[in-house]
Symmetry: C2
Subunit: 296 residues, 2 copies
Amino acid sequence: MLHSQQWDVSTGFQKIALIGLGLIGSSIGQAIIHKNIAQCVSGYDKEADTLQCAFDIKCINKACNTAAEAVKDADIVIICVPVGEIKNTILEILSYLKEGAIITDVGSTKQSVCDHVYPLLPSSVQFVPAHPVAGTQFTGPEAGMVELFENRWCILCPSDNTKSDSIAKIRSLWERMGAWVEIMTPSEHDMILAVTSHIPHVIAYTMMLTAVRIEEEHPFDIAKFSAGGFRSATRIACSSPIMVRDILLHNSDAILGALREFSDCCKQVEQLIINNDGDSLLTLLEDLQKERLKIP
Amino acid sequence: MLHSQQWDVSTGFQKIALIGLGLIGSSIGQAIIHKNIAQCVSGYDKEADTLQCAFDIKCINKACNTAAEAVKDADIVIICVPVGEIKNTILEILSYLKEGAIITDVGSTKQSVCDHVYPLLPSSVQFVPAHPVAGTQFTGPEAGMVELFENRWCILCPSDNTKSDSIAKIRSLWERMGAWVEIMTPSEHDMILAVTSHIPHVIAYTMMLTAVRIEEEHPFDIAKFSAGGFRSATRIACSSPIMVRDILLHNSDAILGALREFSDCCKQVEQLIINNDGDSLLTLLEDLQKERLKIP
C-alpha cells in the first residue's frame, strides 16, 4: 500500500535505510531529511501503524513493507529496534544488502550486540556499533525530534577489524546530525552506561514498586502527594518496558555490578542515619552536592 | 542598617513574620505580598546577606535584625528554617510573641517537629504544624517564586489541642497562596513523605556516590556521558545538604522503613535479571510504567 510513496531530498549519502521507527529511528530520519544528509531515507517498521505514522510525519521518504525492501541499494542501514531484536533483524536483511553497505545500530548496550552480530556477518559487510546517548521518556515516531542528537554524545564501538573508512562514514553521519562522537570499547561503553542510564532506569522502576508496595500496606494515595522529588526520580519509569527489559538482560553483568555498588552506597548512607551521625552525613551530602553541581 | 526599611501592602492579616528566608520563606513572602494577604511581612534570617537579598527582591517588606524583632505584633509567625533549627528558633521568639499569635512551620518532617515544639509552648500560644509539598532543587531567596505553592498540597498536622480557629486561619493562609490543604496526623505525613520525597533524596545522593565510587575505580568521565536518566535521577542531589541532613535525621524511622522496602524491591528486580527472566521482568516493568503514567 505504501510501496511507491516517495519524495526527494538533495545530496549527501545516496540512500539510508532505517529499520525500526520509534523515538530514535524517527529522530534520525527527521535529522537526515532536514539536514539533507541523504537523498533517500527508506524505512520499515514491523508495526503497520508506526510505519504509516513515520511516513506521514516525514521522518522517512520511502515506506517499505519489508526490511529487505528497505535496505535495497542502501549505503547505510541503521537498525533502530530494541536490543533484543537486533540479531533477528540482521538475519532478515543480510541477503538483501548492497555490496559495501555499512550496518550500524543505536542499541543502548554494545558488548552483547557485538557478540550477537559479528558472527553473522560475511567479511563483505561492515558493522559499526553505535549508541547515541539521547532520548526522552516518550516513545513512538511522533515523539521524534529533529534536534534530539544535537550537542549529545554518540558512542561508536568498532572492532579491530572495522575499516577506518566505515568508521569515518558513520562518524560523519552522526556529526552531521549535530552529535559529538567518541570511540571506545563495547565493555567501556557498557560500564559507563550502566551507571549513567541503566541503573537510573532500575531505580526509577524500583521506586515505583516501593510506592505500590507501601500503598498496598497503608491507605495512602502516594501519587496525590508526589512531590517533585518523586516525579523526577521516577520520570524514566515511563520509558518503553520492552526497551528497558532488553537493556537489563543484555547488559546484565555491568548492571548487576553497578547495582552492588549502589546497594553498598545505600547501606553507607543508611548506617549514618542509624548512627544519627549528622556531621558525617552533612560532609557526605555536601561533597555529593558539589559533584552534582558540576553536571550541567 | 535594614531596621527602618518598610513599604506598605493592603488588607488581609495585619502582620505575618517569616523566620528564615530561603527558597520557601522567600516564596511565601512573595505570595503574601503579591496577593495582599497581609499588610506587613516582616522577615529575619541569621545570614545578613540572605536578609538583605530577601528585602531587595521584595519577599518581605520589613527586614529585622533579630527574630524577636520580626515576630513583634505578628498575627502569624511562619518558621521557615531547616527542621533541625526549629526548636531553637522557637526558643528565641517565645517571649516576644503577641498574645494570641499563631506559630506555624514548613518543615518536611512533622512528628519530630511536634515532639520538639509542643513541650516548649505555653497554652496561650497556638502551633499549627504545616508542610507545603513544593520546592525546587535550588536554594536561597532568589530561587523563590510567587507561584511556588499554586495547585500544590500543603499538609497540616494539628494536634487534638489545636483550636479550630487557628487551623482555619492557617488553612486560609495557604489557600490564599493557591495551595490545596489536607489535614492528617504527623505520622501519616512522615510515612507518605518518606516515600514521595525523602527516599528520592537518599537515592539521588546515593546514585551520585555510586558514580563517584565507580569513577575512582575506572578512568571514566561519567558526568561527560550522563544521559537524561542520570540527570533526572540525581537532580535533587543539588538540594540544600543541611535541609536534607535534618530531614534524614528527623524522620529516620519512616525513612529507614521505606529504605528497607526499597532495598527488597531492588533485590526482586535484581533477581529477575540474574534469572534472565524476560517475561516476568516485562510484566513487572509494564505494570510499573502504567502506575507511573497515572502521575501527571
